[in-house]
């Protein structure tokens, strides 16, 4: 498992492997530096699959786990939307510092829960290249943040935010890494347990990123204008989204991606009905991802259906409905429906019958590696331009040949994170209806379910 992996162009890259594995493997893997205390090494330039940074996991790792257990024993504190968004509150130095220290405590606690989870997984799973990369990244980040001294001034906060930005950047490629690991390890663990693991990892990740990005955004706004009072547009995170605009934008992106591989095949238009003009507060990037996935599935299915039957394509009906607490999007297509044998596995990360998985193994992994490379290069350039980094954006614009099979399970996690729902009804041979219920986030006294993850 740990050892070598080959990129598409044949270059061989040595992966980091555990010290124990190194000792026991017949071919010794070379790595520079000693296996001693790595914790103080800078994390800039930390790359996956590179031979450079020595492993976090040394022979002493086992005995140094106490700190982690201490953090893992603490419960994560529930976060109210008001706290997150600071709706209507005037920002002051003290409030910013308070927020910074809250993040400084919460991040390691939540990470510790997930690291602890990973430590409990079977050895064979975490030993997988990709999963062990994620494990080491998490552990390293955990140590970095927990060692940051208590923040007392705005300058301290400035340094803290720099660290946070780097962390966000380095964690960008975690999702593809996890996905690769899941695909490769699907025979090693029962699928329910895998689904639960992915579920908690992703939900925790969302919560940490939202906390982090929100704090950074508030810091930036405050530095620009000390009298800034967050109203509807809070930092870069909670936006007033226009339902129809988002759908149209996602459709444009999804359509061009699908068209690029199915070149002469007509892709159906969208027809809107319902409360098309409504606006509501939501995390725009999440919504774009979910709707993007849904439309991608629809367009892809439409193209396949056209190729198989030559039937003219009727437009996709998009219904938007406004309710007191929710907004509902319904996407109705006539693209042939979902084959019944796939339906039991629609929402699972670990896909059904073994044959499908082997097939995936074979086709997917080199492409996923490519996406990781792509992401890292993109992250480096974005860091240089200090652009806001969102791993979701990269996933949203990924090549359509990259069929991860994770679109629906991931969308479900994102939708449910904020109290929404997603459901699919298939009419075999005719088409599909997808229902996306979004909880409006304008109500600031809501408690976001961000505890215990």
């Amino acid at each position: 498992m740990g050892g070598r992996s080959t990129l598409l162009n044949g270059q061989s890259i040595v992966c980091r492997s555990h010290y124990l594995h190194y000792l026991m493997s017949p071919q010794r893997v070379r790595s520079s530096g000693s296996f001693d205390n790595h914790y103080l090494l800078p994390i800039v330039g930390h790359r996956f699959n590179s031979g450079l940074p020595p492993s976090t996991v040394s022979s002493r790792h086992f005995y140094q786990n106490e700190k982690l257990l201490e953090f893992a024993a603490r419960p994560s504190r529930p976060v109210s939307l008001r706290q997150l968004a600071f709706f209507g509150m005037k920002l002051t130095n003290e409030k910013i510092i308070q927020s910074a220290n809250f993040v400084r405590q919460e991040l390691p606690t939540r990470m510790a829960h997930r690291i602890h989870d990973m430590q409990s997984l079977p050895y064979s799973i975490v030993q997988n290249n990709h999963i062990s990369n994620v494990y080491e990244l998490y552990y390293h980040s955990f140590n970095t943040i927990r060692r940051f001294p208590i923040i007392k001034t705005i300058e301290d906060n400035g340094r803290f935010c720099d660290i946070l930005r780097e962390l966000l950047a380095h964690h960008t490629a975690v999702i593809p890494q996890l996905v690769m690991g899941v695909i490769e390890c699907s025979d090693l663990i029962d699928s329910k347990r895998m689904d639960n693991f992915m579920d908690s990892m992703l939900r925790s990740r969302i919560s940490r990123r939202v906390l982090t990005e929100q704090h950074i955004a508030l810091t930036e706004e405050f530095l620009k204008d000390p009298n800034f009072k967050p109203a509807e547009q809070v930092g870069q995170v909670f936006f007033q989204c226009s339902a129809a605009d988002i759908v149209r934008q996602c459709a444009t992106v999804s359509r061009s991606l699908t068209q690029s591989i199915h070149q002469d095949i007509p892709i159906p238009e969208l027809v809107f009905e319902g409360d098309v003009e409504i606006k509501f507060a939501y995390v725009a990037s999440h919504l774009r991802y979910i709707i993007g996935e849904i439309l991608r599935n629809t367009f892809e299915a439409s193209a396949e259906h056209y190729k198989a039957t030559g039937d003219p394509l009727s437009p996709v009906l998009v219904t938007i409905s406004d309710a007191p607490q929710h907004v509902t999007f319904r996407f109705s297509d006539s693209a042939g429906g979902i084959p019944p044998e796939i339906i039991p596995y629609l929402w699972s990360f670990a896909k059904g019958p073994r044959s499908m998985i082997r097939h995936h193994n074979f086709k997917q992994v080199p492409e996923l590696e490519a996406i990781v490379e792509e992401l890292e290069a993109w992250v480096a350039s974005a860091m240089g331009q200090r652009k806001r980094i969102s791993s979701l954006t990269s996933l949203t614009t990924r090549s359509p040949t990259l069929r991860l099979g994770m679109g629906l399970p991931m969308s479900k996690i994102y939708a449910e994170f904020w109290g929404g729902k997603i459901a699919v009804q298939s009419m075999e041979g005719f088409g599909c209806d997808v229902f996306l219920h979004i909880s409006k986030l304008g109500n600031e006294s809501r408690f976001v379910q961000m505890n215990n993850i």
Binding site: D275, T319, T328, Q425, G429, F430
Partner: protein
């Protein structure tokens, strides 16, 4: 004959009094020719049959209904079928009796529930007796008579049972009620289906029967869901007209020509229930009577200019058919979504207004007696689901609150 003699012997003995005291003193009000006898024979029958299949699965597939081929059916095949039907029905009835016996004592003293108990005992008697010898055509005819009697006796059982449960709410939780009724209705559907099917097969195989290649017993091999929807809409329009002064409408978007083999009674019941809900919601939404419409009025959102037609999509699948009903009735509120599938009387009470009871009566062809025996029970949806699920189908519901509801009916029928 034998049973009456036994009863005369037994009357003097104390254990018979003990047996009979489990029933209330008043006689059941059904027009039975003779009072019900509870004696050891029947109890043994029940005990032995009740030991069979205990899970909630049907004892037969859709395929089993048509495996004998098209009528006329050879006499010995019919006799064989009669024997099988008798076994399954006796098991089913016996299980029901045991289930009622397991209800709290006080509940079975409720006259409605004890009425049900008695008619089940009666039916076990009748079906058992009439089929002890099944070898000739005459035997079959006698058996068919008994089946007919059973069906008629049980026709009004559901409202009675519902009333009994409603009155017993203090003695049983709603979860247990739901569980009991789920299994009870499931068994009842199977029993009646088998009985009516066998009766129909017999009639269709008789010497002087009119040959209609389309029907195999109860199964219509060329059923058109589209036509059925139109008939039901026509019937329901009248009812809505009476209630609201407006007529709903329906369009068949896809699947006008789809034909399927299924049991018309079942499909008719389900579609009537679903269309009734859709029409009612559509009209009320239009008239501003629903909470969804009131929200829209308050926030100045777009409203319907006319009550929008209910859109029906019918699609033939590998295993059967799927029918989607799409309405613009404002959708269903989150808290109600779970309640609508339960058997609680209270939902009904809240929702129903006076004139509504007419809207809830299914067409006479379903009830057979022309009476509104199913009127306003709040059992419509769970019963529809029981019909759909009997052969492995389902009813799923997705709602866009504020806009409308989509209902997906999957039916399994393999020809």
């Amino acid at each position: 004959m034998q049973m009456r003699q036994r009863l005369r012997l037994a009357i003097g003995k104390s254990w018979s009094i003990r047996w009979m005291s489990t029933c209330p003193r008043q006689q059941s009000k059904f027009s039975l020719e003779e009072p019900i006898f509870v004696n050891i024979d029947v109890s043994e029958v029940i005990a032995s049959y009740a030991r069979t299949v205990t899970t909630k699965t049907s004892s037969f597939d859709f395929q089993d209904l048509i495996q004998l081929g098209r009528p006329p059916i050879a006499s010995d095949a019919l006799i064989q079928n009669a024997r099988m039907v008798r076994e399954i029905i006796l098991s089913s009835l016996s299980r029901r009796i045991v289930a009622v016996r397991n209800l709290p004592y006080i509940m079975v003293l409720n006259p409605n529930i004890s009425k049900i108990y008695n008619i089940y005992l009666h039916s076990v008697n009748v079906v058992y007796e009439s089929g002890t010898k099944l070898e000739t055509k005459e035997d079959n005819d006698r058996f068919v008579q008994a089946l007919q009697n059973m069906i008629e006796t049980h026709t009004n059982a559901i409202p009675t049972l519902a009333k009994g449960f409603a009155e017993s709410q203090t003695y049983i939780s709603s979860d247990e009620t739901n569980r009991f009724l789920d299994v009870h209705l499931h068994d009842r559907i199977g029993t009646r289906l088998l009985a009516k099917h066998h009766i129909a097969l017999t009639k269709q195989s008789a010497q002087d029967a009119r040959r209609d290649a389309r029907f195999i017993g109860l199964v219509d091999t060329n059923l058109s869901p589209a036509e059925l929807c139109r008939e039901i809409t026509w019937f329901l329009s009248d009812v809505c007209d009476l209630q609201y002064g407006m007529r709903p409408s329906m369009t068949i978007d896809v699947g006008e020509d789809v034909r399927v083999a299924y049991i018309p009674e079942h499909l008719e019941y389900i579609l009537t229930e679903l269309l009734k809900n859709s029409f009612r919601a559509t009209i009320e939404q239009f008239l501003g009577m629903t909470p969804a419409s009131q929200y829209r009025i308050k926030h100045g959102l777009q409203r319907e200019v006319v009550p929008h037609p209910v859109a029906v999509t019918i699609v033939r699948t590998a295993n059967g058919v799927v029918i989607r009903l799409r309405d613009r009735g404002g959708g269903i509120q989150e808290d109600n979504l779970k309640r609508i599938w339960g058997y609680s009387e209270s939902t009904f009470e809240e929702e129903e207004r006076d004139g509504f009871k007419t809207l809830n009566s299914p067409p006479p062809s379903v009830t057979g007696t022309g009476g509104s025996t199913m009127a306003g029970l709040g059992y419509g949806l769970p019963l529809s689901r029981a019909y759909a699920e009997y052969f492995g189908g389902s009813i799923d519901l997705e709602t866009c609150f504020g806009w409308g509801t989509d209902v997906y009916l999957h039916l399994i029928s393999r020809l």
